[in-house]
Every structure is written in C-alpha cells, then in structure tokens.
C-alpha cells in the first residue's frame, strides 16, 4: 500500500531533475579564443575559473597555440572567469550558469599594460603592480629618494606621474584633484598640502585609482564620472614605538621606592632613560628593565677579542659586580640606593652604534654576627665576630660600542668602557676568641676606615675579514685596559687579653695604597676550510700586563713614620704568548675539534719598601712554557637530544698580590703574606652535558658534569699560633700543593603530569671536592660533599588561578683529615607555596609562603624562618594603564640573613639583620597598559 506514494514521489523527483537538466545542464564546457585588443592571438595564456564569492581557484587551463582554451565538463554554476597573461591586464568576468552544454565565449580580447609600467616598475624598480579593474597602483618604497625628500620629490620619480612646477600632480595624463592619506582626507582638499609637507620616507605605497565623483557618492547614483584619486599609504609602525613604566611606592617603617623607564625607538634609533631610588634593598634595576634599557645592544657587550680555544688571551677585566646597574643585593643589612642613566643605539644595518651612561650609588648599613670555629691538628678555637659597617659606594659608567660593516666581507668593532668609582667605608669589628675548652682568650676590637677611588678603562678593537672562499676567515683584535686606584685605610685595633697576665695592646696604622694596572693585548685567528666539513684554525694570543702597587703603612703614633716591614712597593709584568692550532670536523650534527697550543708565561717582579729604595728580594723572573691540549665533541641526535663533552688543560699565573713578600695586617689576628716562589696553577678539566627536550610532551631533561683535577694548585696554608701581643694569630700564605679535585654535577627536568595543567619540576646537584692545605705544617685535606635537590609542582587549573608548591633540601658534609671528630653536617631545607589568583576582573591576589630550616647538629644550631608575602593589585583606567598595588612583605616579621658554610680548616655561620616586615602601597603607570591576565611564565 505504501509502495504507490513512494513510486509517485520518485517519479516526480526524476521528472523534475530531467526538466531542470533540460533547462540548465549539470555539466558545461566553457571554451573560447584569446586575442589582444589589436587582434593578435594569445597562445599559452592562463585561464582560470574562480568562485565568484571569494575568488577561490576552482579550475585552470592554458590557451593552446591558436589561443583557444576549453574547460570540458565542468560543473554548470556561476564562475568568475579570469585570464592572465604577461604584459596584459588580467581580464575578469562573471559567468552565469549556462543553459546549453557548450558555453562558447568566442573571442575574448585582453588589454596590454603600458610598456613603461612593465619595464620601469616591475623590472627595474622591482615594485609590485596592484591592479584594480583597469587601474594600476604601485609600491613607492622601492623608488629611492634622498633622505629628507618630500612626497612631491618621490612622485616625480614615479613612471606615469607628472608633477608640474607649481606642484600639481597628474597621473596617466589626468589631474589628481583628490588625495587621501591612509584612506582619509588630509588637511582639506588641496592635494599639495600633503605632497609638499609629508616626508617621502613615511610613505609605503602610492595608489592611483578612479573614484566615483563626490556627487555620485552623495546621491548614490553612478553618473559614470570618475575622478583620478591618489592615496598615500603610511608605513606600518612595526619598528617604532614608545613603551615604559613608572612606579611610586610608600610604606610603613619609612619605606619608599621610585622607579621608571621609558624607551622610544624607530627603525634606526633607540633612546632610553631609566632611574630608581629606594630604601627597600634594591641596589639596582632588575634584568628585564636593564635589557630594555640597553635595547638591542644588551647582548653585544660580550664580544671580546680573545680567539682560540679556552678563550684565553690573557685575562680580561670585567666590571666588578657593584658597577653593574642590575640589582645585586646579597641579603645582608639595609641599603639606600639611587641610580639612573641613558642609553642610545643607532642601527642602519651597516653601522651599529651604542653609547650609554649610568650612575649608581648605595649606602649600606650592616650589623652582622658570625661564629667561626677553626681546627688545628691537636686543638681548636672559636671566634665570634660582631661587625657594624657603614659603607657608601658609587660609580659612573660610560660604555660605547661601534660595529661598522665595511663591506660585505669586512667588519670592524670598536668598544670602550670607562668607569669611575668611589668607596667610603667605616668598619667596627669585635672579635672574641675562645679556647677549645670554652675559656675566653682575648677580645680584639677593630676600627677601620677605608677610602678608595678607582678608574677603569677597557677598550678593544676587532676586525674580521671573510675571504671569497667560503669558510676562510681572518680576524685580528687589539685591546688596551687601564685601571688605577688610590685608597687610604685608617686602621685602629685594641686587643684585650683575659689570661692571667691580662694586658691591653693598641695598634694604629695608616695605609696609603696606589695601584696602577695596564694591559695591552692582541689576538689573531685564521680559519682555513680543508673541505666542506673539515676546518683548520690557527691562532696567536699576546698580552702584556704591568702592575704597580705602592702600599705605604705609616704609624700615626710616631709622626706618621713609615712602618718598614708593612710597606711595599712593587712592579710586575706578565708576558703572555700563546700560539695554537686545531682541526675541527662538523657534519650532520657532529662537531669535533682537537687542538694543541704552546703557552709561554713570563713573570717579572721587583719588590722594595718604597719607590727608589733597594730591592727587598732578588728580582723575580719566572718563565713557564706549557703545551696545552684541548678537545671538544658535541652531537645532536635526531630526537632533540644534544650531548657535549670536552677536555682542556689550564695553566693560570699567580696573582701578583699572592707574590708580594710583605704581609697585609689590616686585621692583626688574620694576616696574609705573599709568596714570591709561587708557580702557576695547573689543572685538567673534563666536562660533559646532555640536554633532551620533547616538544610533543612538553618535557625536558638536562644533565651536566664538570671535573677539575689539579696538578698544582694555589692554596692558602695557615700558620696559627699564639702570639703574646695578638693572641691567636693566623697567617695565611699562598702555596703550591698538588692534588685536590672538584667534581660538580647538576640535573634538571620538567615533566607535565597533565599536559598544560600540572607540571612536575625536578632539580638536583651533587658537588664533591677535596682540597689539601697545610695547617701549622701538617697537611689537612678538607672534603666537601654537598647534595641538593628540589621538587616542585605547578598547577594551572584555569586561566585565573596558578598554584605552585616546591620543596628543597641541601646537605653539606665537611670532613677535615686533621680532626675527624670535627666533621660537620650542615642541613638547609625549605618548603615554598605560592598562589596567583585573578579573583575579579582586573584584580589579582598574589601570595607566597617560604618555610626555611637551618640545621647544624654538631653545634646544636637549629633555626626556622618562615617568610610570608602577600599582595593585591588592581588595574584601572583606559587600557589598564594604571596599577595600584598593596603589598605586605614578611608578614610574620621573621626575615634574617643566615649562611652556614665550611672550608679549609674552619666552619662558619653568619647571621645578619635585614629588612623585615613592612607594608607598601604603590601606583604604577604603564605607557602600553598592563595585561589583564595572570602572567603564566616569563616572556617566552
């Protein structure tokens, strides 16, 4: 019964399909012949069928030798039919579904493009043509005009555009009466206001097209009239902008902080300013702000001219840590800091120039307590040191660097850094000595004042040449470094003794110190490719370092007369020469090099009490010649694993202060004296590392290991004895010992337990070392074993909440061969939890809690320090440009500095006061606005 309606329906459908097909067939063949406007047949033209809605390519063919083309049996639907042929305007027309199976377009004519445009624009200027219907536009940036030119000057150079003496513009013979800038009218209707005023370098495109007349636009009726219109497109601001931020903060306990930086840049120039001031122990800016300050020059300052393996072309002078504007607060005391500077970079690809100036100062106020226990072969003693220190240090730094690309094969780098610094410090110290049985021995009070002014200059020039032969290179460098310092130490000590024959000893000294250090150095490197994968490198390094030290120690109690046995004047010179060669193989991720260098060190020195006085010892003249081998191997596996290993042999000359035979007695209980017979330190270094990452699972893993084995090592041997007027006196003297090693291992890994949500981080390290040294003539080997590890979990339940928890433990075992019962076990543990929560739009809660445990059971030392910080911040204003933050630091008021360590024949524990609980309210303004989301990680 149901069959009949079914059949009827099917029949009807079939009928309708057939009838439709009768009207417009399913398939159609589109064909035609292409000719140009003068009737010439156009063979091999590209013919395309496009989707008329979005111009997606559906089918294409080419015309044959007779200019004929055909799309056979294509779907019969609407098409955009398009023909393109070199030198002709692309033809585009809409085809509707065709009623018959053959759609013959007949002869399709195409129009040629003006020869001038093809040759001048496309071929000569390499500018793209943009075709809109019958109109052609072109990219103006490829037409070179001298700097400072106006748009008018630019237009004069464009083919097809004429500019008359009055500045009237004609395009393809027609006057331009309407001009837009970025599609908008520019200052009224006179096109000349733009063409005469805008700079040519701001323009990226000049477009000329026909636009409907104003009237047609108003009425909406196309009157067929078109006006020639020009649009000037401005260059994108990709390499241009301003960014920066400023923060002002005030808190309880008289805490305050100000910081700000602003950076402006365009394609060629960068200018930045930075400044800060605070009393919250930020001695400088953070690395992120510093890198913004230096801009693109941040990573350029590390190029030195030392060529060859091991980097060694004589020592380079680096700025000491207090000269860097990056925060380097060590956790002790209270500081008040100011700093600021400016940086300028220029870069036009051929010339890169950088100049910067930075000033910083820090006033430190420190109260510190430390306990040291010293072990002798048959005895031990301890001393507690209480220190009150006031220090003011400041520095002015100027850095410049020029990199000039001379031509495509040669580059020259010149750089110079100057730093002027000062230091004024007062140092009050009480040292209380106790014998092994706990009885007090003596109490030493020091009152020392130091003033130091220093000047440093580092300069270098590097020239590199690449030969036409690929891989053949030559480089030469020269450098001059100079530093000068002069200082005064005003030393005063009172020593009180608690033994039966109690008496007091008082010492006053005045030290005048002048140091002068200059170095010239040079290096040469030549690389010759032996094949595509084998390279031969040869290098030569030279340096000469001259050092003059004048330390005159005077006795203020005795008309400032010189104290001869504490005064020294010395001149030293180190000549360093090294020539070496190595062969390097590099292929398919395997890099291997092996080399050998001959290194000669020559040390010359003269010591006298003062300039012009007879020499204290025979002039020192030592010469060392060593052969230094070096080998490196690295390999990249195909699965993102990388391994490397290397061997090197190092010979380092002794420092001159270690060679001078006159003691330094700033602290009578702890003196150092040099050793003129010192020989260089020699060591073998073997290193290995592995790195693996799995981009698919987001996990990574790394491992590294370094082993140093010393042939000869410079260590401080100690003579500790009881001296009547001093008490327990330690004299440390550098000596060569053989033996000893250092073995460091570290490991890290990161593994997502739940991808993008929960990540496990692991870190571990193991450091083993043995250092021999003599204590009262008896060899003591100190073995230091430290093991540390941390485990952490990062949880990201959603975009609005980040949680972290981690724990770490550090074990440090120190054993002394002279007194094994004194072996130390130092333990530090910590647990950390953190939360970042965006609980309302534009409002964030951030808090972290650290629980630190310090233990040393042998001393019954056991201290727990919980630190809890919390803050809440809210973004306000348009584009979230303002941030208001209320922060509480160390809510439990427990912060204190603790350090435990053991070395040589002692163990030490230091505790220092520092900034504890305070609350702070800060307001920040960011030129670009703050992000209204949690920062999950660093920038990348």
């Amino acid at each position: 019964m149901k069959l009949l309606p079914c059949l009827t329906a099917s029949f009807l459908v079939l009928c309708s399909i057939l009838s439709l097909q009768a009207q417009t067939p399913n398939k159609v063949t589109i064909q035609g012949t292409i000719e140009d406007t003068s009737g010439v047949i156009m063979p091999f033209a590209t013919v395309m069928l496009l989707n008329p809605v979005d111009t997606t390519l559906i089918n294409f063919t080419r015309s044959d030798e007779q200019g004929a083309f055909a799309f056979k049996n294509v779907k019969n639907t609407a098409y955009l039919f398009k023909i393109s042929y070199i030198g002709y305007l692309p033809l585009q027309m809409r085809l509707e579904p065709h009623p018959a199976e053959l759609h013959d377009l007949g002869v399709v004519p195409i129009k040629p493009i003006a020869h001038e445009l093809m040759e001048v624009v496309i071929r000569t200027a390499k500018a793209p043509l943009i075709i809109r219907g019958d109109t052609i536009e072109y990219d103006a940036t490829t037409f070179k005009v001298p700097p400072g030119s106006t748009v008018e000057d630019l237009l004069r150079r464009l083919p097809g555009i004429e500019v008359d003496a009055d500045g009237n513009v004609k395009a393809q013979g027609q006057s331009i009466n309407r001009l837009y800038v970025d599609g908008k009218t520019f200052f009224g209707n006179d096109p000349k206001s733009a063409t005469k005023n805008l700079g040519a370098e701001t323009i990226s495109k000049v477009q000329v097209f026909d636009e409907k007349s104003e009237q047609a636009k108003l009425t909406g009726i196309d009157d067929g009239k078109k006006e020639k219109t020009m649009n000037l497109e401005l260059k994108e601001a990709y390499k241009k902008g301003t960014f920066g931020k400023v923060t002002a903060a005030a808190g309880t306990e008289d805490r305050w902080a100000l910081r700000g930086n602003i950076n402006r840049f365009d394609q060629k120039q960068q200018l930045s300013f930075i400044g800060y001031g605070n009393n919250i122990n930020e001695t400088g800016v953070n690395w992120e702000d510093y890198s913004e300050f230096k801009g693109q020059n941040t990573y350029n300052q590390f190029d030195n001219g030392d060529f060859g393996f091991g980097g060694g072309g004589g020592r380079m002078y680096y700025f000491s840590s207090d000269g860097s504007p990056v925060n380097n607060f060590d956790g002790r005391g209270f500081t008040r800091n100011f700093g600021g500077g400016s940086n300028y970079n220029f870069d036009n690809k051929k010339t890169k120039f950088n100049a910067s100036y930075f000033y910083n100062e820090t006033a430190l106020n420190l109260d510190q307590y430390s306990l040291r226990q010293t072990f002798l072969a048959d005895n031990s003693f301890s001393n507690t040191d209480t220190v009150a220190q006031n220090e003011f240090r400041n520095s002015h730094s100027i850095a410049t660097r020029l990199e000039q690309q001379i031509d495509s094969l040669d580059v020259l780098i010149l750089k110079a850094n100057v730093r002027v610094s000062g230091n004024d410090s007062k140092f009050l110290q009480n040292q209380f000595f106790t014998n092994a049985d706990g009885s007090p021995s003596n109490s030493l009070n020091l009152d020392n004042g130091t003033m130091l002014n220093a000047w440093n200059l580092n300069s270098a020039g590097i020239f590199r040449h690449r030969f036409k032969k690929k891989g053949r290179n030559f480089a030469v460098s020269a450098g001059y470094n100079n530093s000068k310092s002069d200082g005064t130490d005003n030393l005063f000590s009172i020593n009180q003794f608690f033994q039966a024959t109690t008496f007091t000893d008082q010492v006053r000294q005045l030290n005048n110190r002048d140091n002068l250090n200059s170095q010239i150095k040079s290096s040469v490197l030549y690389t010759e490719p032996l094949s595509k994968i084998l390279f031969w490198e040869s290098f030569y390094n030279f340096s000469q370092t001259d050092n003059t030290v004048n330390r005159q120690t005077l006795d203020p109690e005795n008309n400032n007369e010189r104290i001869d046995n504490l005064s020294v004047y010395y001149k030293n010179r180190v000549l360093y020469n090294r020539a070496g060669t190595d062969i390097r193989y590099s292929n398919e991720g395997l890099d291997f090099s092996i080399g050998l260098a001959a290194q000669q060190l020559e040390l010359n020195g003269e010591y006298a009490i003062d300039k012009g006085l007879p020499l204290l010892t025979d002039p020192i003249n030592q010469k060392y010649l060593n052969l230094i081998p070096n080998a490196d191997l690295s390999y990249e596996f195909s699965n993102n694993m990388h391994i490397n290993t290397g061997y090197s042999y190092t010979v380092t000359e002794p420092q001159f202060s270690d060679l001078q035979p006159v003691p330094n007695v700033n602290n009578p209980a702890f003196q150092t004296v040099g050793n003129p017979d010192l020989r260089p330190e020699r060591s073998h270094t073997v290193s290995a590392g592995l790195y693996y990452w799995n981009p698919a699972s987001f996990s990574n893993l790394g491992f590294g290991s370094d082993l140093n084995i010393y042939d000869t090592r410079i260590v401080y041997s100690q003579t500790i004895e009881y001296v009547d007027s001093i008490g327990l006196r330690t004299i440390a003297r550098p000596e060569n010992v053989s033996g000893g090693y250092r073995f460091g291992n570290y490991f890290w890994g990161s593994y997502p337990i739940i991808k993008t949500k929960l990540t496990l981080n692991l870190n571990g390290n193991m450091n083993l070392s043995a250092s021999p040294a003599f204590v009262n003539g008896i060899e003591n080997e100190t073995r230091n074993q430290s093991f540390g590890g941390s485990i952490g979990l990062n949880l990201t339940p959603g975009q609005k909440l980040l949680l972290g928890v981690s724990g770490d433990a550090n074990f440090n075992n120190i054993s002394y061969s002279i007194q094994e019962q004194q072996n130390q076990k130092i333990r530090n543990y910590s647990v950390d939890g953190s939360v970042k929560w965006q609980f309302i739009d534009r409002t964030f809660l951030e808090s972290n809690f650290d629980y630190n445990i310090y233990r040393n059971d042998r001393f019954g030392f056991n201290q727990d320090i919980p630190i809890w910080n919390a803050s809440i911040r809210r973004l306000i204003g348009p584009k979230n440009k303002i941030e208001v933050r209320l922060a509480a630091f160390d809510l439990l008021n427990k912060r204190v500095y603790i350090r435990q360590y053991g070395s040589q024949n002692y163990v030490n524990r230091t505790i220092a006061d520092t900034l504890a609980r305070y609350y702070m309210l800060s307001v920040s303004y960011n030129v670009r606005g703050y992000e209204n989301k949690l920062k999950t990680r660093g920038m990348w």
Partner: protein
C-alpha cells in the same frame, strides 16, 4: 676466471645503456624541468609578534630588543618536472657566519606527483619523523590581481589563510611556468610558486636562482627514511593539537615545528 664475477659490471654497463636510452625522454619536456633555489628569510620577532596571546607591551619590547636583528636566512631547493616535484632544505648556507658549522638537518622532503595526484612527504615534526602518503591536497587559493617580478618572471598573487597556524599566506606564481608546484607544502596554482610570504614577512621564501636542466633522479626521495606513515588529515591534527596546547601555556609553537 669465473664469469659471474663480471655480473655487477655488466649490470652497471646495462644501467648506463638504460640511462642513455632514457635521456632523450627526459629531454622531451626540456623547458619545464629544473631546479629552483629559494632564499628563505625567517623573522622571529615577527613570528613571535603574530602569536595572539602576546600583549602590546611584549610586541613593542620584542620589536625594540630584536627588531633589527631577527632575520635568519637559509636556502631551500625545489626540483621539478612537468609532472613531479621535490622540495628540500639546501646544504648551501645563506648566512656567511654559519660557514663551518654543519648542524643536523631535520628530515624534510616534500614530494608531489601531479600525474598520479599523490603526495609522499617525509617530515620531522616534534622530534618524530612522519611519512605522509596521501592523494594530492593543495591549498584553496584565492586569486588576486597584483603583479610583480620574482627571479625574472612576472608573477601574479594568490592568498590563503592557514587557520591552524593563524597565518596569512601570499603566493606569487609565475605566469610563464606552467607547473603547479611550489616551496614548502604549497601547491595547486596555475603557475610555479616563486614566492611565499607569511604574516607580512614573518617568513618569506623567494626564488633567487632558477636553472632549467634535466633533474631525473633528483626527484626521488632519499632511501632509508624511516618514519611513521600517516594520512594528511591526521598529520594536520598532530599540528593542530600541538598548537592549541602551546597556546594554552602561552608558549610559542614554532620550536620543534616548521613555521
């Protein structure tokens, strides 16, 4: 002497004869067989800036810090005949300071057969080698009207948006080179693709040398490439999943994956 010891030699001679016989057939399509060397310029500041989670401050800072020094140039090669093409990374170095360093190259061979309508690619992705074997699937290009010259050929342009990688891609194809091949995995235009520009200069691949010559065995994939066989749609899924995961953790997806 044992005549069997000659057999490899005979085989070799036979092979030479065979080649000699084949050679004229290769010469048949002489005009449209050859090699294109492309200069590939990657600008990683632009690549990073194109990531949608970057804030305006971060974009400004990247442009400031690295804008002038973030281009990385390499060469790639395309061998083509009227019916086939093979694309790979070149051994030639475009950066002079890379002379002397030959790192491991990721596996990347893109083979197209327009006659058999098939693709056969070997691609290292996220540390793993995939062999993509499937029917030919090219991008659905939108044809535009602009014209410019690339390596001596007048080209027209076409546009395609890669929604997975969020890339705006402009291709310039030569009107006088009737071949549907192109660099990387791009294909399917009425002329040889001589230039590809992605995200306004984040990556630009432009032909800088075109040599017409018989290419013969250069079109074959190197033997002994092991990898996981995969269909195009599954391969695209691997890419899409990775990019989405990286987006969630606000990390760039380009490490371990070709841009």
């Amino acid at each position: 002497m044992n005549p069997r010891s000659f057999s490899p030699l005979f085989l070799f001679l036979f092979f030479l004869l065979f080649l000699a016989f084949m050679a004229p057939q290769h010469g048949y399509a002489q005009a449209m067989e050859g090699k294109i060397r492309y200069l590939k310029v990657q600008n990683w500041t632009k690549q990073m800036s194109a990531l949608d989670y970057m804030s305006e401050q971060q974009r400004q800072k990247m442009s400031y810090m690295w804008g002038n020094d973030s281009e990385w140039k390499t060469y790639t090669e395309l061998y083509f005949s009227p019916t086939r093409s093979k694309y790979l990374d070149s051994d030639e170095k475009a950066e002079a300071n890379m002379e002397g360093y030959n790192g491991r190259k990721d596996v990347y061979f893109i083979q197209r057969n327009f006659e058999q309508n098939s693709i056969h690619d070997a691609i290292q992705l996220l540390g793993k080698t995939y062999i993509v074997e499937d029917s030919l699937q090219c991008q659905s290009w939108k044809i535009k009207n602009d014209m410019k010259e690339v390596a001596g050929h007048i080209c027209m342009n076409a546009f395609w948006r890669d929604t997975i990688k969020q890339q705006d891609i402009t291709a310039w194809f030569a009107l006088d080179m009737p071949n549907s091949a192109g660099p990387e995995r791009f294909c399917g235009l009425p002329g040889m693709i001589l230039e590809i520009d992605i995200n306004d200069g984040a990556m630009n691949i432009s032909a800088d040398k075109i040599e017409l010559m018989p290419v013969g065995e250069k079109l074959e994939l190197p033997k002994k490439i092991k990898g996981k066989k995969i269909k195009e749609v599954d391969f695209q899924n691997v890419i899409a999943t990775q990019i989405e995961d990286k987006r969630k953790t606000e990390q760039p997806w380009m490490w371990g994956m070709r841009y």
